[in-house]
Amino acid sequence: MSKSILSKKQSNLSTQEENSSLKGTFIFVMSIGSFILITWFIVFFIFVGRI
């Protein structure tokens, strides 16, 4: 019984650590992704506007 509580606590702790450790990565991945998408669409609309 006590063992299972302990392991549950440990797994909660490790999930929390994972969340916090990926937050910076997540922000960076999404900002680089958004940058690529936005610049691609700017160039695409320049191309379409000149047809």
Binding site: N19, V29, M30, G33, L37, I51
Partner: protein, 157 residues
């Protein structure tokens, strides 16, 4: 397989972007007919004088508003060096090179393609604004590359 919640989000974002780009590419290629400037046309770059098309470079009228411009690029200029078309005309450019790789670039338009010896490269543009358009080479082709240019004169109706 365990995937972190954030990993799932950015994988969906990445795959979604890829699908979006491929959709845009597919629609513009198959529905609007956009294609690369090479139409698989070939020509003997050593004997352009004997070629039925390129032995007589210049502009020919196809119909009321469409013209075909046959142009030869060579170090360091284009033949002919001036092309004249009326305002509102659609010009189909077919260009080849006599010697090395050049380019055919009309700034501020979508006409910008490589001109390779042995191949016929094409682009189409409609000139709605009268004026003088500059054509430049943007592939380094030799010591006088920066002087290589021609003009397209679009005359008012």
């Amino acid at each position: 397989m365990h995937l972190h919640k954030y990993e799932k989000i950015w994988l969906i974002f990445g795959v979604g972007s890829l699908v979006l780009f491929l959709l845009v590419l597919g629609v513009s290629a198959f529905a609007f007919g956009h294609q690369p400037p090479s139409h698989m046309g070939k020509v003997d770059s050593q004997n352009l004088a004997q070629d039925p098309v390129f032995s007589n470079p210049g502009v020919t009228q196809i119909n009321e508003t469409t013209y075909q411009a046959t142009i030869i690029a060579q170090a360091f200029g284009y033949e002919p060096s001036v092309v004249e078309v009326p305002e509102g005309s659609t010009v189909i450019f077919q260009v080849t090179s006599k010697d090395v790789v050049h380019s055919f670039t009309i700034p501020e338009t979508n006409v910008n393609f490589m001109v390779t010896p042995g191949h016929v490269n094409m682009a189409t543009h409609t000139f709605n604004e009268p004026g003088e358009y500059l054509v430049l080479c943007n592939e380094y082709c030799g010591t006088m590359h920066h002087m290589m240019q021609m003009r397209i004169e679009v005359t008012p109706k």
